[in-house]
């Protein structure tokens, strides 16, 4: 049986939906117009093209300790190396910080930035030529290495032992790319995030993880699984993390680079770095 609306109700519904469409279309239009005028009107930082005035909206794929994690005790609700760096930059630029937990795919494909969800993506993202085609990057703020994590009782000693072995990688990361290039005989298993990868190696579903070094070190030093996993190899890939911004937002990119340089000069950067990494080296 069809549910029949009276013609009048149908008409009313149609008019309403048409109005809603028009309203939403106008809404988005005036939204972007408003932005443009905000930028010229802002006296603090005239060239920063921000989606909401006075606030740096940052997207990050959380959790990915030690770079980003949830933390209810902080003003933003997030903590970690990236978060501290972003907070310090925003302080210099006199901006509030708002952090949104996002999907890494949306970040590194540039969709989150181009669709206006956030001004910046700070998510332990390596600067690569492919990503640079779609995204504007800040100068590198962290030099990373790749690494191989295995259970402590494993016989795998390095990337040469991975033939026919199940190796967990995170989807869309430089670790995945490194595994594809250098461990061709391995069965590469792709996971949506580090959380599932770590659970999978604990569950014996994979035999090794190829992941950014600091993250694997975090697993090696996991207080809940002491001595169960070890990093057996590090790979210097010469990669460096960058803060991602919309490619054409050069005003913001320049301001962020300037702030990064200041932090490195006055020792703030080293302080943040030591908080997270000093004990691991």
């Amino acid at each position: 049986m069809l549910i029949r609306l009276t013609p009048r109700a149908t008409l009313a519904a149609a008019v309403l939906s048409a109005l809603a469409l028009t309203a939403s279309a106008c809404g988005s239009d005036s939204g972007s117009d408003g932005n443009a005028s905000d930028n010229t009107g802002s006296s603090e930082a005239p060239s920063l093209n921000l989606i909401s005035d006075g606030t740096l909206t940052v997207c990050s794929d959380v959790p990915y300790p030690p770079f980003e994690n949830f933390d209810k005790t902080t003003p933003t609700g997030f903590a970690g190396f990236d978060v501290d760096i972003v907070n310090a930059i925003a302080e210099q630029l006199d901006l509030e910080v708002q952090i949104k937990d996002s999907d890494f795919n949306a970040l590194q494909s540039g969709l989150a930035l181009n669709s206006g969800q956030c001004d910046m993506a700070a998510s332990a993202m390596t600067i690569t030529p492919e990503r640079e085609q779609k995204i504007g990057f800040s100068d590198g703020y962290y030099d990373s290495e790749q690494s191989l994590l295995v259970p402590s009782d494993s016989s795998i000693a390095g990337i040469g032992d991975l033939d026919g072995v199940k190796v967990g990688v995170q989807k869309g990361t430089t670790g995945e790319a490194y595994a594809n290039e250098n461990a061709s005989g391995a069965d590469i298993v792709v996971f949506p995030s580090d959380g599932e990868m770590y659970a999978a190696i604990k569950a014996g579903q994979v035999d090794a993880l190829l992941q950014d070094l600091p993250v694997n070190l975090d697993h090696q030093n996991d207080p809940k699984a002491p001595g169960e996993f070890k990093v057996v190899e590090k790979y210097d890939t010469g990669e460096s993390y960058g803060l991602a911004m919309k490619k054409d937002n050069t005003g913001l990119i320049d301001a962020v680079n300037e702030a990064l340089a200041t932090m490195k000069d006055d020792g703030d950067y080293q302080k943040i770095y030591d908080t997270y990494f000093a004990t691991d080296q």
Binding site: V15, A18, T22, E130, G172, V190, F191, A200, K202, Q205
Partner: protein
């Protein structure tokens, strides 16, 4: 002023069309067509997706759906018969099972089977993570389809069973040769629904980790999103999903029409 009834109706209908047309025009005009064609219709990306989108993505989606559906039906049949059993213990067991697995999100069951069970019991379901994930889909879809099948069995007129038994048929043969064939006919439409839901639920398997030749359509699309920094792969897989699910439902509609004719 009084208008003729037919005139009023024609005016009203005309008004409706104008409003709908206006809505369409508004949507088309306000959309950023250049951005859409750049992000969703990028020629090189579309070419790059071929032929893996079919040979890997679509193939695995269909394979996973068929396995989960076949396993789910087998499980559902057992559960439905248990629920209709005169033995109270069977009824209870089946009810608890069904309530439990209908009450949990499929994603949670998948994670539990693939990552939780090996952790807790040191036992890995066969077929690696994908096998475990498929097992979870079977467990969940079985719970849903059990209720559908039970309703179908109960909808077969009691006289059918009585007639079979008066011919000297035992309970088992009555069920297999008389009741179930009629029940299956009754439940075809709701089972189609479950099938189409399963086509899409196979995308949840991404969470347990996949090798490249194991990816289904959604994972394939996300992989493409990354490789091409472009949303075209999402549009492409959406179309392939429709190519899979619409013919499936049309086929069932065709079968149904034929059966209706036959039973007339």
């Amino acid at each position: 002023m009084t208008l003729k009834r037919a005139t009023r109706r024609r005016l009203r209908d005309g008004g409706l069309y104008v409003v709908l047309l206006a809505a369409v025009v508004v949507v088309v005009l306000t959309a950023d067509r250049e951005a859409i064609s750049k992000n969703f219709f990028d020629g090189d990306t579309w070419k790059g997706l071929w032929p893996d989108i079919i040979l890997i993505g679509a193939k695995n989606t269909v394979k996973y759906t068929v396995i989960a559906f076949a396993g789910g039906i087998a499980l559902a049949l057992v559960l439905a018969l248990m629920r209709l059993s005169p033995l109270r213990l069977y009824r209870w067991l089946a009810t608890i099972y069904i309530e439990f697995f209908r009450g949990l999100p499929a994603l949670v069951v998948i994670i539990f089977m693939a990552l939780g069970v090996p952790l807790a019991f040191g036992w890995t379901p066969p077929g690696g993570t994908i096998g475990a994930g498929l097992m979870a889909l079977i467990m969940v879809s079985g719970a849903y389809m059990a209720e559908t099948l039970r309703a179908g069995i109960q909808a077969v007129p009691k006289g059918q069973r009585e007639a079979a038994q008066s011919l000297g048929m035992g309970g088992f043969w009555t069920m297999v040769t008389v009741v179930l064939p009629q029940a299956v006919r009754i439940v075809i439409p709701p089972l189609t629904n479950e099938f189409i839901l399963l086509v899409k639920d196979t995308s949840l398997l991404y969470v347990v980790g996949m090798q490249y030749d194991q990816v289904e359509l959604t994972s394939f699309g996300q992989q493409g999103l990354i490789n091409y920094s472009n949303a075209s792969p999402l549009l492409a897989i959406a179309l392939v999903y429709l190519v899979i699910s619409i013919p499936a439902s049309q086929l069932v509609a065709f079968l149904e029409r034929r059966q209706q004719k036959a039973s007339r």
